[in-house]
């Protein structure tokens, strides 16, 4: 009788090991080389909710092309949300098995780099991809901490711009300073219409505004493992951003509950003059909306609030460096095949057809050049070249969350029609502490 628990434990252990073993053996176990017959590459990408059918067709097309080229099959897996993605990456990192190639958002690349689970590209590897020169230089800005240590291969570019209603603005040109934008927003607010459509409850948008206004005023937020979220420039950024709704009243009060999609919908209904912080993907929604044909894109202001020019130590960033990077897992047993697939995905032809199908800008220099002449894209391409990378730091996700948290916790006081400076300062101080703590833990 006493043996039973032991027996049970042994059974459990063997079952557990067997289960693990099964998983491992179902992975690709073969030598390197480009004769990929019988091999399968697994690729994890974000599910495209705007073009689901086109995405499925694209999966098949890539699989067919790659099979013809190397004999290997490509199996795409999709994740639905950033959290879903994170969970999958964590599982793979922890277990050392999973997809061979991942498509990651640019701001998540530093965290992925910090895990050390992804292939650092050596000169040889870049050569296999056609060389670094094959890519638009700016897009490489968030591939790694420096030129020698890069994990991310730029795949798509999604710079942020602002949309404006050409019917409301008439002959007015969109402002190039945040103060100017506020003046215009005030001018166009009234008659049930608001100057700006801003998504205060979005999980990402708010920190992008704060980051942009901060770097323009010369505060990079993170430098040499030091956080500077409590810098006056950043406080001013918060006051400006929150003030739009609370004191300037150029934003619909309901915007405290909006996510990005709701702001786009509001602008699409013709109820706002400007829609800052959107990418080219908003085009799909807007072209089907009431403002179809009555809107245009412009780059966002690059002059920080309260100033007349970008600070001398500031960066005239129009947008964060946004888009997707491809990373190859270190544990992959098919490194060369994986690089060959990345080369295919970043080739001029593929990048061009990807843009035509999904509206995401190419990172391939040749493909990008071809699009430069398209007037509808002028502002977006302009923004792509003026975008700046967020700090390449393994703790950036935490800093980002701390920046966002200030906005989340400030929202209740906005209804009172003022920005509570004392409360804002204490929230910013908390954020600074959280960010610095995260940076101190960096290894």
């Amino acid at each position: 009788m006493k043996r039973l628990p032991i027996l049970a434990a042994v059974c459990a252990a063997s079952l557990f090991l067997a289960a693990c073993g099964d998983d491992a053996s179902s992975d690709n176990s073969s030598d390197n080389g480009l004769s990929g017959a019988g091999k399968t590459l697994n690729v994890l990408v974000q599910a495209n909710t705007i073009y689901p059918e086109q995405q499925r067709a694209w999966f098949t097309e890539i699989n067919d092309k790659f099979k013809a080229q190397t004999g290997a099959e490509v199996k795409f897996e999709t994740f639905a949300s950033a959290n879903d993605e994170l969970t999958k990456i964590q599982t793979a990192v922890l277990s050392g098995q999973g997809p061979d190639i991942y498509s990651l958002g640019t701001t998540f690349t530093p965290t992925a780099y910090a895990t050390g689970a992804f292939l650092e590209l050596k000169d040889d590897d870049w050569k296999k991809l056609g060389g670094k020169e094959a890519f638009v230089p700016a897009t490489l800005g968030i591939s790694g901490p420096d030129a020698e240590h890069q994990v991310g291969i730029p795949f798509t570019s999604r710079p942020f711009v602002m949309a404006y209603n050409t019917e409301i603005l008439g002959t007015d040109k969109p402002a190039t300073t945040w103060d100017g934008l506020l003046e215009q927003a005030k001018k166009y607010t009234g008659n049930g219409r608001y100057g700006l459509a801003v998504a205060y409850a979005d999980g990402f948008d708010p920190w992008k505004f704060i980051w942009a206004m901060s770097v323009q005023a010369g505060n990079p937020l993170v430098k040499d493992k030091k956080a500077s979220l409590d810098d006056p420039a950043t406080l001013k950024a918060y006051q400006t951003y929150l003030g739009w709704l609370a004191t300037d009243k150029v934003v619909n009060p309901a915007a405290v509950g909006w996510k990005n999609a709701q702001a786009i919908a509001d602008f699409g209904a013709g109820k706002a003059a400007f829609l800052p912080m959107v990418s080219a993907t908003s085009k799909v929604t807007l072209d089907k909306s009431a403002v179809a044909g009555k809107y245009a894109y412009a780059i966002m202001p690059t002059v920080p609030p309260g100033a007349t020019s970008t600070a001398s130590n500031g960066v005239a960033a129009t947008s964060i460096l946004s888009g997707d990077n491809l990373v190859v897992a270190k544990y992959t047993k098919n490194k060369d095949l994986a690089l060959a697939l990345v080369k295919l995905l970043t080739s001029p032809e593929q990048q061009e057809s990807y843009y035509k199908t999904f509206g995401e800008l190419p990172t391939n220099a040749t493909a990008a050049k071809k699009l430069q002449s398209d007037p509808a894209l002028a502002a977006i391409i302009d923004s792509a070249s003026k975008a700046a990378g967020t700090p390449f730091n393994g703790a950036w996700s935490q800093v980002q969350l701390a920046l966002l948290n200030v906005v989340v916790q400030s929202i209740p006081s906005l209804q009172a029609g003022k920005v509570d400076d004392a409360k804002l300062k204490s929230l910013v101080a908390d954020a600074q502490k959280a960010a610095q703590d995260a940076l101190d833990k960096q290894k």
Binding site: M1, L4, L7, A8, A9, C11, A12, L15, F16, N83, L86, T87, Q90, V93, L94, G96, T111, A114, T115, G116, A117, A201, G203, N252, P253, A254, A255, V256, G257, G394, S397, Q398, L401, L404, N405, V408, Q409, I411, P412, Q415, A438, K441, Q442, K443
Partner: protein, 307 residues
Amino acid sequence: MSITTEVRPATSRPATRKRRTVSRRQRPLWMLAPGGVLMVVVILVPLAVALLVSLLDLDQYTLREWTGAPFIGLDNYVEALTDTPLPHAIWISVGYSVLVTVATLPIGLAAALATQQRFRGRALVRSAFLIPYVLPAFVVGTVWRTILQPSGPVNAILGEQHLWLNGPLSYWALVVVQLWTSWPLVYLLALSGLQGIDGEVHEAAALDGAAWFAKLRYVIFPYLRGVLGLGLVISFLHNLNNFTLPYVLFGVPAPHDVEVLPVLTYVESFQNFRFGLSAAMAVLSLLLVSIPLALYLRAVRLNSDES
């Protein structure tokens, strides 16, 4: 069963005991092995790993070689209790869970009593009562999020601009939505309890001329005590552990007033990558949920001893 006890002579007791020991020895315990293995793999192994992780400084930098992460003893627990919003989160979580649990009791009971008697369309009403319970939490969260938007139906009906999804009112929004989705559990259990009451009991109460309230108070309630106790414990644990609803309703980072324990644990793990700290929080919340559970099990055991 009562007959055998009466008939059994006092002298036969040692013999019975002996036979029982024999049969206990011969019980085919090995047949428990499949279930036992499953328990070990599904519950004990992850629990042990969680305990281990809670003692490690595991983050995005050490994740890949997680067994090599620095062992820091109870530092994660100390940090969780002194340097994070955990105490506040426990206060919020327990507070709202108690409120919701207490409020589900009268509602669930009333609904069960109302549908106890036969009437036309009873089946339809009974099914309708279950809708909030069978809807996935994600759907409930999304629907209520829309309802509670600043420009949503609730504010339109009230004719006032209230902020429901952030600020002090968000706490009450969470209470109301959680109540809406969890009362049918108490209703279901109360209904099953009511159906378990023998018809003769009702008859006897009627013969004794008991008024409806006296009947409810002295006849029906005692029968329901066990099943309602179970309902309240399960309901409390559900509320305390509910992640999806607050996550979908309020998003992350959660507004201060609704920063509940599961969401905080999630944020530490999946947004801040502090896996060790998050595991320590999870272990602390396990301790927290084991309190009502222990109380309940104790109560059940006392009951069975009495009988």
